[in-house]
Amino acid sequence: MQDGTLIKVKDLKTYFFLDEGVVRAVDGVDFSILRGQTLGVVGESGCGKSVTARSILRIVPKPGRIVGGEITLHRSVNEKDRLAMTDVVTLTDLDPMSREIRSIRGHEIALVPQEPMASLSMVHTIGDQIMEAILLHQKVGKAEARQKAIEMLDLVGFPQPKQRVESYPYQLSGGLRQRAVIAMALSCHPSLLIADEPTTALDVTTEAQILKLMRSLQEELGMAIMYITHNLGVVAQMTERVIVMYMGKVVEEGDVDTIFHNPKHPYTSALLRSIPRLGMKARDRRRLESIRGTVPDPYSIPKGCPFHPRCSQRIEGVCDEQEPPNIQVEPGHKVRCVLYDSRSSG
């Protein structure tokens, strides 16, 4: 396939097998990420976005595991042929502890997690932790690895990287720590960067800086980013394409402009309406809108469309009975809702 696809996720199902029952964290998810593209993954807590990311990296913690579907990584092999051939690796077929997947982790696909403080080891220097990734995936010596680590720190805007490379995480501020984590993730020039709410734990000013950094790095390095967040404002700034997830399924996917200006799924519209807008005049007396109800208990997902109990447009007898099909409303824009099913009535 030479269409620029980097990652293709097909019908991914990742379930958690607990004493209390089975949680279907990811329940039939499809999407693709193209080379160099930024994909936003949006949804409330518990909708399965983080589990999806971890499924790609095959680090889903026990008692969870992938029970179905396929994830493929499409590498472009440039060396031998002048025609860029792609080498397809089926990530879901690999053993999670195998050498192959480990050579992909941190190398071709890297992770930037949420809390920088908790994601770095307290008793190792940031230099050590960055070098570890470099030494693991590149055939270089220690001195060269150290040099590269310093270069990475410089790249991510670290002040005085040569001196700071020996510092411990607790000596750095939150923003600097997150930069260090980003440096660590980028150290081996991944083709895909999975950013799992990387700025949620940071204050707004630092967040802006980190977002700016990520955008410029993406341009410079040409890597794809899978940006997971529940913050729609960030999605608007950072992404090209968006998938909206709810209860383990993708309910809508499309270009960022389409999603923001022409949302089709009731959930997406409700999410967009719930963003507080600056400049709302007091005399309009508009209430802050929220979506009625709460996310259902994962052990008892309602029959039919998972969103129907909270949906203002649900159709009795249909939405609580059948699972809605995934409809392509226009090219590049899909919705999982019966409202757009031309075959059904209304």
Partner: protein, 387 residues
């Protein structure tokens, strides 16, 4: 209505969520109930708690449970092995539990003296709620009722569930009496240390600063001294001519001297964690006095931890008393505690003839393990996230 239409909100009835109702039950349950529910899940802890109840029953009613006077030396039954209880007779029929007549015989070839059953000479059924030797329950109520016994004369046969020692004293009776002193001492010691531990730990954690540092240093210092050598030194100072009760109290006090540090640490930890909690701030802002804040707000929330810590500390105290008495620096004969009983097992030659004098160790091990399991269960129930 018009406004709502403008906003695009469509009204619809809010759904009841049954599951939410079930969850509510958990929200309104008082803390002790929550704790009990969580505790119930630990089968091992429940089982141990039951075992402890049995042990404490024996401790309280030891005169009733013991078939024989623990101090009475039944000379003809010296170093007798545990009596076997049978439920099938010679013909294989099921009978109510009984024992056979035993005789000491000498093997004509090896000249070994053995104690054997002689079914032909008779069997004695085990009876419950029998008359036995006289005793004074708790020192004032006279009775001669015993839990079980056999209808045999004192010279004929006895039911020695755990054998007898070198003086012919029934081990089961002695261990039962020993339970009273060993188990009570653990409890009392722990309550003594509770007072000291809660007060000092509370002050330390609540006020912080210099006084916290001082108390912490003190605790560290006390724990630097190895406990048994310290206990030995202190208890050697107790005059030899003191009556048993005074010695008992002295030992209890000595053990509490180090024991309180453990509790103080737990209390302090809890106070430190709670000081920062918002509900304390709220109480303070609403004008409550410090004392009221401590008593009404903080104490209930750490009560469960304290109970767990107390329970976990009791086995240390039981082991301390047992160890001290075992080497002769704790309780001494004629007082009966498990440690005192075990001291008699140190005589190797008599131990070899009657190894069942080691049976008090089972009592010690079981109670120590039981307290540990129950304490673990309580601690997990108090806070499932704490270690």
């Amino acid at each position: 209505m018009a406004e709502q239409a403008k906003a695009g909100i469509i009204e619809f009835p809010v759904e009841e969520d049954d599951l939410q109702k079930a969850g509510e039950k958990t929200y309104v349950a008082p803390p002790w109930k929550l704790m009990w529910w969580r505790f119930r899940k630990h089968k091992l802890a429940l089982f141990s708690a039951a075992a402890l109840i049995v042990f404490y029953f024996v401790a309280i009613f030891c005169e009733f449970v013991a078939p024989y006077d623990p101090n009475q030396a039944l000379i003809q039954f010296k170093q007798v092995p545990p009596t076997l209880i049978h439920i099938r007779d010679a013909e294989g029929r099921f009978q109510f539990p009984f024992i056979y007549q035993h005789r000491r015989t000498m093997d004509t070839e090896t000249f070994e003296i053995t104690y054997l059953e002689v079914p032909s000479e008779g069997s004695y059924p085990i009876e419950f709620f029998v008359q036995g030797y006289q005793y004074e329950f708790m020192g004032f109520w006279e009775s001669d009722l015993h839990l079980f016994g056999v209808p045999a004369g004192a010279d004929q046969q006895g039911i020695f569930l755990l054998g007898t020692d070198r003086l012919g004293r029934d081990m089961f009776s002695r261990i039962s009496y020993g339970a009273r002193l060993s188990l009570s001492m653990g409890m009392i010691s722990v309550f003594l240390s509770l007072a000291l531990g809660v007060v000092l730990g509370g002050i330390s954690g609540y006020f912080g600063g210099t006084i916290d540092t001082i108390i912490q240093r003190l605790i560290e210092f006390i724990r630097t001294i190895p406990t048994i050598p310290l206990y030995m030194t202190l208890s050697a100072a107790l005059p030899v001519d003191w009556p048993v009760e005074r010695v008992y109290f002295g030992i209890t006090l000595i053990i509490a001297i180090v024991g309180w540090t453990y509790l103080a640490r737990v209390v302090r930890g809890r106070f430190l964690a709670m000081r920062e909690e918002d509900f304390v701030l709220a109480a303070r802002l609403s004008g409550s006095s410090e004392m009221r804040i401590i008593l009404r707000h903080m104490v209930p929330s750490f009560l469960s931890y304290i109970i767990a810590a107390l329970t976990l500390n009791i086995p240390n105290m039981i082991l301390a008393e047992t160890g001290l008495s075992f080497i002769g620096l704790g309780l001494r004969a004629p007082a009966i505690s498990w440690g005192v009983l075990l001291q008699e097992a140190t005589n190797i030659s008599s131990l070899m003839l009657a190894p069942w004098v080691l049976t008090p160790s089972f009592a010690v091990v079981i109670s120590v393990l039981a307290f540990n399991f129950v304490g673990d269960g309580l601690r997990d129930a108090a806070d499932p996230y704490a270690r």
